[in-house]
Amino acid sequence: MTIPIEALKRKKEHFERGEDRRALEDPRAELLALEERGELVVQKIDHDAVAVPTKYGREKRIQKAHLWHHKSCGQCGHIPGYSTSIFWVMRKLGYDYHDPRDQTSCTAWNYYASATSNMAAQAAVAVRNFAAANETGYFPLIHCGTSYGHYKEVREELIRHPELRAEVRGIMAKLGKQLVLPEEIVHYSEWFYALRHEIAAKQVRDVSQVKVTVHPACHYYKLVEGDAIYDPDVYGGQRTAVVTGLAQALGADVRTYSTWFDCCGFGFRHILVQRDFTRSFATLRKIEVMKEEADPDVVLTHDTGCVTTLDKSQFAAKAHDRNVGVGVMSEAQFAALAMGAHPYKVCQLHWHSADYRPVLEKMGIDWQQAWAEFQADVKRLENGEKRFLDWDDVDG
């Protein structure tokens, strides 16, 4: 009996199969074609760049210097040592950057939590930020994993839907701006991966005794996955190479665990108003599994929500005698520490909840002395000697 293809097609006639989302192999070519038609402006990479491999083989270029830092709400608000460490490492490597005030949140945390927005608004917010970056001549570097994932989705939507481009162009015209997208959408962890050997060359602290587990951030490599960095030399190319590639370059003892693909439990809405779910998932599916299978000294991750969730969820679980109790930080903070950064003045670890002190001790850092130094600086602010600490203070 032959397969009744025509009958099956009729049965499914209400389905309009569009192009598979994974068919969009090289968004750069699509963007440049649209630019040629006058539909949008592409901000080009115009400084020295490093070529890195991505999931399906496309070569992605990461600009090294002259970067526009698209900051993260959650990092700046609740884990400021995350942002500060990114800036500090860039300064130490001698690459210039711009830290803009003409930047809003991508607003995607709220969108994924409450849906109180829409496709046009989300695209317009993204494009407004990209246009602001383009006006300065600095190339955007996205700090937040969700902003990065969301902006990649916005780029795909703008490429696919001419009516959305027209709407966003109209809104931008009202703001006196153009529809601008960058040649590449780049996450800061990609910059750290691309520059990992330069970072390791400036390493002053030995981390070879530090046992590390890595949590890859969902919105980094699950949303528009073709843009994420995969390297045959890291996990055989079967998981994203960012974070792990850096930790390995620094000589850390990177260990694996079975639930690496699971999300952290952040949930966007849940972390703010339904944390029983977040706490349960973060401890039962992530921290406890890591502890049992890999016994890490520290969990490294590369997104705002993941650091927050994995760090903050352990306190309540500890009260229930669960197998938790491991420091959590971004790989940017870990790299900064390895390069000699101050744990409080730069990495701001006093904003974290899970106990990070054992990992500092393994890195040879006297955290009590460091805390006394930070307190002395705070005293200078308190007695009016200075209004703010600056970069000279933290490197002094």
Partner: protein
Amino acid sequence: MTTTDASQPDAHYKAPNVAGYADVPLEEKERLFGQVKGDARFSDYLYGCYECGICVAACPSARFYDFSPRRIAQAAAREDVELIYQQMQEDIWECSQCFSCLRCPRGNNPGGIITIMREVAVSNGLASAKEALVGYSRIIYKIMSTGTQVSPDMLQQDAFPDWGPETADVSANLDLWRRALPPETLHTTTTGWAVSEKTLIELYLIWLHTGSLDMIAEVDASLHAILQEVMEERLEDEGIEL
């Protein structure tokens, strides 16, 4: 001998409620699904279903709730408006929006379908949307009015008692610890970073021109009124008439 109580509904009759909320006519369910299907992204998110369950295996919410991304994709594919309506009144708010379900070998995006269903639930003022967003108003206010989502001064122990005593330390030392941050843009306590006035004006214009502000009216009328006043005042100061 059993007797029949005429005042009680027969167990075989359809329940009068859906997910605890009053049911609506079939036509209303079809109208709501029409909005979901009419979203430009819908056809990019749904290709069919192998019923393999890979999305469920990868889903964090499926482990802790009576929730299944596969049921979402299947109901949408079958255009089962009864089930879709029930999901819009319940299931969609359990999704973590992590997009682990993008592991689908068919190329489906159940998380993306849920994003659209949530948007339709909000813009139509469905009861589930109002309930899911209880306690969330201050976040919407913060992001829409300041352009940053979470601010340092939100770290209060009464709001996050489960985050440990460090939260209280941050709150007690907030002003000093923010001034101790070396980047100049981070000396703020009420926003994540310093956002320029011009930037905020542009953001407000985006909310107004895309109908995002109007969406708030459907789920929280008083929040909408406050946001409207804040935005109008700032825009009028800039000489922009609405």
